[in-house]
């Protein structure tokens, strides 16, 4: 297993290096932060701009290759991912952002999975009955409605609750109220901020898992081995839950492992709407602010997370399916 991991790890490090380098060249040749500088009032002279850029390691006069070598040397020798045009250090910014994204999505990912898979099993066991139709229709609706609209609807709902009660229970945006004292009040404040985005992301997210789990389970409820299990003396529901469930979970496990990183790296709608400045919104902002280093850093983060997802998917498959062996 360790050897396998090492082998896969080396392959992925190489691939991450390639994508990140390609991303850097793309960014360095298309993003021109010097142009934005010129919109300042009073307008700086080109020499001033070039000077200020040079000080931040973003010299516009160097060729892309020279800048690449400089950037790469910084990372390899000092783990320094460079600076933004506004002078901020990417390294410092990055840690905060990742932590914010993780906090925003962690709870909702777990909830999405548990609810989605459970509802999938529940509806498969009641195929074409009223409960199944309601749940599956909802899932398809959640699938179709664009995420931003669903988030807005949840925000409106939360505001409605606040107004009905006549007190502000939920915050619909932001991470926390500044200047809170440590202790009970702070935890409560965090929860009030946390509830709305978590509910919103969960409500939108579980649909795809429910549909997948229901479908894969239905493929297996009439399998020969379920019939064998019933012939041993298990009831239909016992046979399904003991035998069909695990087999049907194999493809679901794999898709889960791949979607988790996608949410971490690409949840910019949720981050924007709920005003949680995480990695997703940062990557979009970086592009609009012509920020070469930040854009490349988010790209690298995305690649790392995807590699982790791929390894995780392999792990998940070997864990639930004995037919797959790691060589």
């Amino acid at each position: 297993m360790l050897r396998y991991l090492a082998k896969r790890g080396i392959t992925y490090v190489f691939m991450i290096f390639l994508t990140t380098s390609a991303g850097y060249f793309l960014a360095v040749s298309s993003l021109k932060p010097a142009l934005l500088e010129q919109e300042r009032i009073p307008r700086p002279t080109p020499e001033q701009v070039a000077n200020s850029m040079r000080l931040k390691g973003l010299d516009p006069d160097l060729s892309p290759w020279e800048r690449y070598v400089e950037w790469l040397t910084g990372i390899v020798t000092r783990w320094d991912w460079g600076r933004s045009p506004n002078g901020a250090f990417v390294n410092a910014e990055f840690g905060d952002r990742v932590w914010i994204s993780t906090r925003l999505f962690l709870a909702s990912i777990i909830l999405t999975l548990v609810i989605g898979v459970a509802l999938g099993v529940y509806s498969a066991a009641r195929q074409y009955k009223f409960q199944d139709r309601v749940i599956t229709s909802y899932s398809y609706l959640a699938y179709i409605v664009p995420a931003p609209i669903a988030y807005f609807l949840v925000q409106l709902g939360a505001i409605n609750i606040n107004e009905t009660v006549g007190e502000r229970i939920f915050f619909v945006t932001g991470i926390s109220t500044p200047g809170m004292e440590q202790g009970w009040a702070q935890s409560l404040d965090m929860l009030a901020h946390y509830a709305v985005p978590t509910v919103a992301i969960t409500l939108v997210g579980w649909g795809s898992y429910q549909i997948a789990q229901r479908q894969y389970l239905l493929d297996n409820v009439n399998a020969d081995f379920v019939r064998t299990a019933r012939a041993k003396g298990l009831t239909r529901n016992q046979a399904i839950s003991r035998h069909a469930l695990r087999v049907s979970f194999i493809p679901v496990a794999q898709s889960i492992a791949f979607t988790i990183p996608a949410i971490f790296a690409g949840g910019f709608f949720a981050e924007k709407i709920f005003a949680w400045p995480g990695v997703g919104s940062w990557s979009i902002d970086a592009i609009s602010l012509q920020d070469v280093n930040a854009a490349t850093a988010t790209l690298a983060y995305g690649s790392v997370i995807f590699a982790l997802g791929a390894i995780l998917a392999d792990f998940a498959t070997t864990l639930v399916d004995p037919r797959v062996r790691v060589q």
């Binding site: 081995f225 019939r227 041993k232 003396g233 298990l234």
Partner: protein
């Protein structure tokens, strides 16, 4: 199982066994363990109500075996699932099923669970999909024990699981408990299924086509395991099959089903030797026999079984019955006593007239044996249509993702040489994995880079470098495939299917139309059906379309890859007769691959037996089948069940141990040494020879040949085999005779 081997006093299984004895004591021994009365099953389908089972009655006595025989769609599997309560809830089931006097029908799923796997257990057809892939074999056996014996200790369950695996003949059972189903071969998985079924000593064991998906040698092993299981548990067995041979040796009673109804029931000998229903007679006549060199055609049963959506107004067999009269269409005949023997009943108004003196060939007007114009010419004087010289196909076995290392070679075909003459049918037989299909593919490949020479109609693959030469070869040789449904494009009409090869051959429209009409008549299809799609035909008709397509370009040689194995027995006979007739009329040669040796014997002139990529015995079909010299041929032939109960009961059977070895583990000397019954009985000194030297393919030994030459007229026999000790003794423990042998240890 006997109580002697299992004496833990606190053990729950022995307790439940005692309980069962008490329950059984309420009934006299003659009382049936399973009684089915007027069982009816209906399904709602989009087209209407399908009445799948109509009035099945039977009593199963303790320790006896009932064989339920019928073609696909006759309702035999539905009957078994109805008894087990495993039909979908949408099925309407009526009648009565009593197990040890207790009514099972009408019980809900939960209540049925007390019986399923406990008093009544089942073995299913497809062992590959019947075990849960993600659980170990041990866990799946233990589960069956846990369900019905919740208080049994973990150690006791494991001990019992090991005992069960040993009983069904799985080597080193203790280690194999931890194995997953995918690590087992099909035969081994079916053994595990049997182990699960007998885990709780059931009173009734239902086996639904338990060997249909398996090779003949493995089938013999599994039937043997079922026999042992029945002896150990004393269970009554319901054996469901389409193969009249399989049940001939092991059943006490037979029930023949047709269109959802039992049409004839009785003791096994009465059914086989004195059938009183034309359908039974036809079925028996439709099966070729492996043990007789017959010179008669098979009995074809024309037509297809009725659609069960419509309530029959007369005998449901009437549309296919050659003896039909108007009276037959007037109400369904009852199942009434026939033939005089107790228990023998037939649902036919003419059963009294159908004594044992009735000639089934005459009744069904079987066609006369076709004679080819080549039959009179000695083989040596006929032209060669196909010749293989030392053809090899080795697949490298590699390991590693990026840098492939060769860790071995799979010798799928290893040095094959044979020839086929005009007007001859040459067959290749062997287990799956022996290289039969690869041989066909190598012939069809016909490329100059192949290892070995393939000569088709005088054209060698070494010379055929241009596309033109290769397409000329395609006109000489055509192929008929195993699965007629998969081999025909569902979006093509029959006309388009048949026109395609003719267009390739460059015929004009007029000529194509004319040829297609000819072909339809030739294969016995109605010419006005050319605009139908394949799904509007039955399986047998589809195979006829496949044959017509192969014949379209007038080939000399037709390659038949398992041409009838996907067809029902009664339909199969018609297709075999057609092939026989076409060979004679058109002077065709066939190269056939088949696993059914009875079919091979019936249709072939010469036969080659393959084992692990090599021919181990080759020769004239009657010689090889009547006097097999290679131990493998002998084992193969003895493994085939014959539809003759008396013969089947006393026949000596060679049960090969284990499965076909992986080609990687193939021994250095004789490939067959690992499973050989002769080798096992040889003294160590002689074994050495088998292990180190590869036996060459040679004619019958010099002494025997000399004798035949001395007598003058007889030419040297057309039979070659590859074995050093063809006359060696067979190992005792691989021989089984049921009637005379004492109950042997597993």
């Amino acid at each position: 199982m006997s109580s002697g081997t299992y004496l833990e006093p606190a053990d729950p299984t022995s307790h439940s066994a005692a309980e069962r004895l008490q329950v059984a004591g309420l009934y006299s021994p003659s009382d049936a363990v399973l009684s089915v009365r007027d069982l009816n099953v209906r399904f709602n389908s989009e087209n209407g109500v399908v009445h799948a089972v109509r009035g099945v009655d039977f009593d199963l006595m303790p320790g006896k075996t009932l064989g339920i025989v019928g073609e696909s769609g006759s309702g035999k599997s539905v009957t078994s699932l109805a008894i087990m309560g495993l039909l979908p809830p949408t099925a309407e089931i009526a009648g009565s099923v009593r197990l040890l006097g207790k009514e099972l029908l009408g019980l809900n799923d939960k209540a049925m669970c007390a019986y399923r796997g406990n008093d009544i257990a089942m073995v299913f057809q497809d062992p590959l999909s019947s075990l849960t892939p993600v659980f170990t074999v041990g866990a799946q056996i233990t589960e069956a024990l846990t369900i019905h014996n919740p208080t049994m200790s973990k150690q006791a369950k494991e001990a019992r699981a090991v005992e069960l695996l040993a009983m069904v003949g799985i080597p080193s059972p203790k280690d194999r408990l931890k194995a997953f189903p995918h690590e087992f071969s099909g035969g081994m998985r079916q053994r595990v299924m049997i182990a699960i079924a007998i885990a709780n000593n059931p009173r009734v064991l239902i086996a639904d086509e338990p060997t249909t998906a398996l090779d003949v040698t493995i089938q013999a092993q599994v039937l043997e395991v079922l026999h042992t299981a029945q002896e150990e548990t004393g269970a009554a067995v319901v054996m469901i099959t389409h193969d009249l041979g399989v049940v001939a040796g092991i059943a006490d009673d037979i029930m023949v089903m047709y269109a959802g109804r039992p049409v004839e029931t009785g003791q096994v000998d009465d059914i086989y030797y004195d059938p009183r229903m034309p359908y039974t007679m036809g079925l028996l006549g439709a099966v070729p026999r492996v043990d007789v060199a017959e010179k008669t055609s098979l009995v074809p049963i024309e037509g297809i079984p009725p659609n069960l959506i419509y309530t029959p107004t007369g005998c449901s067999f009437a549309p296919r019955c050659p003896l039909v009269t108007d009276a037959c269409r007037d109400g369904e005949p009852e199942l009434l006593p026939a033939g005089g023997q107790p228990g023998h009943k037939a649902a036919c108004i003419k059963s009294d007239a159908l004594g044992s003196d009735a000639d089934v060939l005459e009744i069904f007007s079987a066609p006369p044996v076709p004679v080819s114009r080549f039959d009179a010419i000695p083989r040596g004087e006929r032209a060669t249509v196909l010749e293989l010289r030392d053809v090899r196909k080795h697949f490298p076995l590699t390991k590693g993702a990026l840098l492939k290392r060769r860790i071995g070679t799979v010798k799928a075909v290893d040095g094959l040489s044979f020839d086929i003459r005009e007007g001859e049918c040459f067959s290749i037989v062997g287990e799956s994995g022996s290289g039969k299909t690869t041989t066909l593919l190598e012939i069809m490949e016909f490329h100059k880079d192949q290892d070995g020479e393939v000569v088709i109609g005088g054209l060698s693959n070494k010379e055929a470098t241009t596309g033109k030469a290769r397409s000329a070869m395609r006109r000489e040789l055509q192929m008929v495939f195993q699965d007629p449904t998969g081999a025909l494009d569902p979006r093509f009409t029959v006309y388009e299917v048949l026109a395609e090869p003719l267009q390739n051959a460059g015929l004009d429209k007029q000529a194509i139309r004319k040829r297609i009409m000819e072909l339809m008549k030739l294969v016995g299809l109605q010419p006005d059906h050319v605009n139908r799609f394949p799904n509007q035909f039955s399986g047998g008709q589809r195979q006829r379309v496949g044959i017509a397509r192969a014949l379209a370009v007038n080939p000399k040689l037709v390659v038949l890859d398992e041409p009838v194995s996907a067809l029902d027995v009664s339909v199969q006979a018609g297709v075999i007769n057609l092939l026989d007739q076409l060979r004679a009329e058109l002077g065709l040669s066939y190269l056939m691959v088949a696993h059914d040796l009875s079919v091979v014997r019936h249709i072939s002139n010469r036969v080659a037996v393959m084992y692990l990529g090599k021919i181990v015995e080759i020769g004239e079909v009657d010689r090889v089948f009547d006097n097999p010299r290679h131990p493998y041929t002998r084992a193969l032939l003895s493994a085939i069940p014959v539809p003759d109960p008396q013969l089947e009961r006393t026949r000596e059977r060679i049960i090969l141990q284990g499965d076909l070895p992986s080609p990687l583990d193939a021994p250095k000397g004789c490939n067959f040494a690992t499973r050989c019954p002769v080798f096992a009985a040889l003294p160590a000194a002689k074994q050495e020879k088998c292990l180190t030297l590869e036996p060459p393919l040679e004619s019958v030994p010099a002494s025997a040949a000399a004798q035949t030459l001395e007598s003058g007229r007889v030419p040297p026999a057309d039979q070659q085999f590859a074995c050093f000790f063809p006359d060696g003794e067979l190992a005792e423990d691989m021989l089984v005779v049921h009637e005379t042998a004492e109950p042997h240890a597993p």
